[in-house]
């Protein structure tokens, strides 16, 4: 990784290549014309691990989505990752695409980007000056734009551990595996009386970047979870951002999706919070109420 940073610093038109699932299409379409490609896909990737002291799941940036999906024990600590990883693209894409690559690319509809914003996940970077630790939500600056410098590489991603939370990720795409039109990520935790004492809620598709809905989170905390509460929060969530109308749908459609998907996500997260042993995201369970 140190050599990669040096190589990136030597040429301002150098680009980092990891899984290539976002960069190589751009090369093929001649949308990107780097002078040099610095290939880190060869580097051995250590397994992800749960850091009990930091109460975080630490994932090396070159971990492929498929590689992380295979680490079941680690994913017990990061149930939102377990929910959203199978939704990324298709199997062949998951075999090559990496977590660092997905976050650095900052596609506004990307599952890992929304999950990172919703959970407050942090990225650790390597740079000539040493690097930094920064929340991904602070690193994202716009659509496909992050604050990463050209010679700065994400080396690992730290996800807050949520093993006792119920997690859910809902999205709608025109076809399975297409980029989501709207996505919703949520985590709920219940206290001993069954009241919500922690909540995370994020949404993609309503703005140029994934949004964390702090006000909706506050509206959930301290409340007894039920359909009325969830419907209210879903309406509130749908009013966030300022969605555009495009070929995938109108702004009104996006808001309608946001409300419905938020409602479904909260319901599913509640079921999971109440039954931690429930098999996560079984394909036949997706969208089922």
């Amino acid at each position: 990784m140190d050599e990669a940073v040096t190589a990136l610093g030597q040429d301002e038109d150098a680009k980092l290549l990891a899984g290539g699932q976002s960069l190589v299409p751009m090369l093929n379409l001649r949308l990107a014309r780097p002078s040099v490609l610095v290939d880190i896909s060869f580097l051995p990737t250590p397994p992800a691990h749960y850091d009990a002291e930091e109460h975080a799941v630490v994932v090396p940036a070159t971990t492929t989505h498929a590689g992380l999906m295979a680490q079941a024990l680690v994913l017990e600590q990061a149930p939102l990752l377990r929910e959203c990883l199978p939704l990324i693209g298709h199997a062949a894409i998951r075999n090559r695409g990496t977590m660092g690559g997905s976050l650095a690319h900052a596609d506004p509809s990307a599952e890992l980007c929304l999950a990172a914003v919703a959970t407050g996940a942090e990225v650790v970077t390597l740079a000539p000056d040493g690097g930094r630790v920064v929340a991904f939500s602070e690193l994202v600056e716009g659509t496909f734009i992050t604050g990463l410098r050209t010679d700065e590489i994400i080396t690992e991603v730290r996800w807050p551990a949520h093993s006792t939370h119920g997690a859910a990720y809902e999205e709608i795409a025109l076809r399975a595996g297409d980029f989501a039109v709207v996505g919703v990520a949520t985590l709920l935790h219940l206290d001993r009386e069954g009241m919500i004492d922690a909540a995370a809620l994020g949404i993609s598709g309503l703005a140029g970047v994934p949004l964390r809905l702090g006000e909706c989170e506050q509206a959930l905390i301290g409340r007894r979870p039920d359909d009325v509460l969830f419907a209210d929060v879903a309406s509130e969530a749908a009013r966030a951002g300022s969605p555009v109308s495009d070929i995938q749908g109108s702004a009104e459609y996006r808001r309608a999706l946001a409300a419905e998907l938020t409602r479904r996500a909260l319901s599913r997260a509640l079921r999971r919070a109440r039954e931690p042993g429930l098999v996560p995201n079984a394909p036949d369970d997706r969208g089922a109420e």
Partner: protein, 158 residues
Amino acid sequence: MSTSDVTVHFIVNEQAVQITVEPRRLLADVLRDDLGLTGTHLGCEHGVCGACTVLVDGAAVRSCLMLAVQVDGRTVRTVESLAVGTELHALQQAFHDAHGLQCGFCTPGLLMAALALEGSPPLGEAELRDQLSGNICRCTGYANIVDAVRAWLDGHQR
């Protein structure tokens, strides 16, 4: 800075090969043009259609999204590895029996995507379809393809 050619050593269909290519060349193009393995097809060249699917170290990948230099030291398997002479592989026979192909353009990619499922734990209907969803077919409407792969997987697990 000029791009100097890179020598790549890898295994294709159980044969060791060594080629020297420009780093910008795609794996799909090198398989087709340099190694004559034209069974791997190019449909979209930007990772959407799956016609270019091959196995790298046993995992399905889109060969139009890999640079040839990235398979150095790896094992690649293409559709040419299935049949032995004129004798069809059981998976190909299943496609034939279920009428899972018409024009055949998407077929190599689907065969390799299905092959990647060999040895996996039993798949439910939705899971099987999900695993094949990365390949687009313009002709068949997919039902016979799913039937073919199901028949082949069931035959394996017996």
